[in-house]
Symmetry: C3
Subunit: 238 residues, 3 copies
Amino acid sequence: MPMDAANCALPEFVGTAVLDTIGLVLPSIDRTLLDHMPLPRQYPAIGSLSSRSGAAGQIVAVDDAVKATNTDILSVMLPRDSKGWGGHGVHILLGSDSVADVRYAIQMALDLTEKYAGEVYLNSAGHLEFAYSPSAGPAIQAAFHAPLGRAFGLMTGSPASIGLLISDLALKAASVDLVRYYDTDHGTSHTNEVIVTLSGDASDVKRSVLAARSAGLQLLSSLGEAPRCVTTPFLTED
Amino acid sequence: MPMDAANCALPEFVGTAVLDTIGLVLPSIDRTLLDHMPLPRQYPAIGSLSSRSGAAGQIVAVDDAVKATNTDILSVMLPRDSKGWGGHGVHILLGSDSVADVRYAIQMALDLTEKYAGEVYLNSAGHLEFAYSPSAGPAIQAAFHAPLGRAFGLMTGSPASIGLLISDLALKAASVDLVRYYDTDHGTSHTNEVIVTLSGDASDVKRSVLAARSAGLQLLSSLGEAPRCVTTPFLTED
Amino acid sequence: MPMDAANCALPEFVGTAVLDTIGLVLPSIDRTLLDHMPLPRQYPAIGSLSSRSGAAGQIVAVDDAVKATNTDILSVMLPRDSKGWGGHGVHILLGSDSVADVRYAIQMALDLTEKYAGEVYLNSAGHLEFAYSPSAGPAIQAAFHAPLGRAFGLMTGSPASIGLLISDLALKAASVDLVRYYDTDHGTSHTNEVIVTLSGDASDVKRSVLAARSAGLQLLSSLGEAPRCVTTPFLTED
């Protein structure tokens, strides 16, 4: 956590995490502002979590937090960002009748972002991101249209050719369902990526994602130095 | 002004300003080119001002320049840029029957950009931008749909959660009208921001913007070092 | 070529080039993946070339490669990228019945990218890119709608005002046809550029592009240090 984080005295501030992730709670959002925001339903308490880099990791973190609290996903947006890399950042909105529940969910999502950022890899040429959940919840469903309750996997690579090849290898590595395919012109905010999302049995999805990771690290290394991990990889062979 | 700026001998060159802002005048633009440009009306003389970073400040600068000269706003475009930050740059086109008027307006807008860039704040994690005009003119109207002649205010923050919270606090700080709400998926070029524009009485709008600035500086500091100002802040309490 | 490139042992890896360009061949792409990709027709062998920066140079390189091999252009996508500059990267897909032809075409395109990147110029403020082909082939037609068999030229500059003025000067420098005009809101992925493509006789198109280059280098210098060339300029006066 950045040094100055403890110094933010605003009551709406919850905390920060890696990848320039910040979490806030808006306990009684201005009614006019709420009327202008394109949200499915209005809630008394709104939580907001956004990051400059990474998206899938934070979405899985929020997914765990929503499953553990009495909160609902309101929107998941993917800015073209990643601080000079070729991918997205993320902005996620939660709602609840309870300010305490929103605050707890945002804090939990910030804590889990440190874990799930472990599958973001960067070097001077590009990036890789992998995500995995043994059981997709409402945030993963809202963001990626993945079936609820089944294991979920995501892989992306930039430059986009890397994302394409690792997705191909992932699909060949195990018996999984392809949920969606994304590229620069389809489903992204014009990122330099191919993204594929998977659904299936947990061991199959994990095997697919690990196959993509193994190839992705080799491919990204061909363009520059060995990719560095943002925190600590959390996906391991069973 | 960059060191080499004095060396540009092209007659169309007017000058440069902070935030990689450049101003040019095209005194007799090629007719075929003009036919391909999606402009509302054709003018003999075209002015072009663009920047890599900042947008609202340059728009207010051009607004002042258009009000002071016999020139018209032709278009305001917001590229996804800001040189690695999460926001926009800007490209503004002016038209006039008089080359001299266009040149004068562009020079004036460059000079004022140094002033209005005073409310851009950056650190390694993100950015804030604030804009204020006591009386919105044609450029502010064209860019932001704000009512002519009333005070205008704008605030944005990145990562987007910051922009959302400071907008909420701004709306609660004074009696102002919300003109428009923008986020990654609505009205921006997929930036990592929430942007809100305000209209109202001058003292109310300024109070709102100052409330947003105070909170924004605290929030952005929570993600990294103290934000630095690009030039000199120009908004002060009355 | 980056130091580690020789170390990539994946059989699908072809090679790398400047501007973070990578070339791969997918000899038997997963059928489900192929069904999800929006391609005009399905091919047994797919080639993928993408880069973080530059687009026109790689497209001309692929154009030469497609003309010299039994391969077809499947898609050309332009991510908002350029690694912190205001332009695009590129992702190009080729198809063929023959894996060997795809591999040969991708290798040829990587080799030619080193040449055509010679007309990319960068400084701390922005960039310029110029492209030229004496005879537009299928990749240039697919990417830019330029007529087959005639000379093709492209110019762009960022910040966008530079692209606008150099396009105007190019059109006045010789008798050429304007093929398309692109700006932040029209035909780009929200880049900070004006891009113009030209068609005509070879000597005219080259004269136009050289006029744009001469002005562009002066204008970009006004915002910062002298622009550097990525490799070696290949366009010279006849």
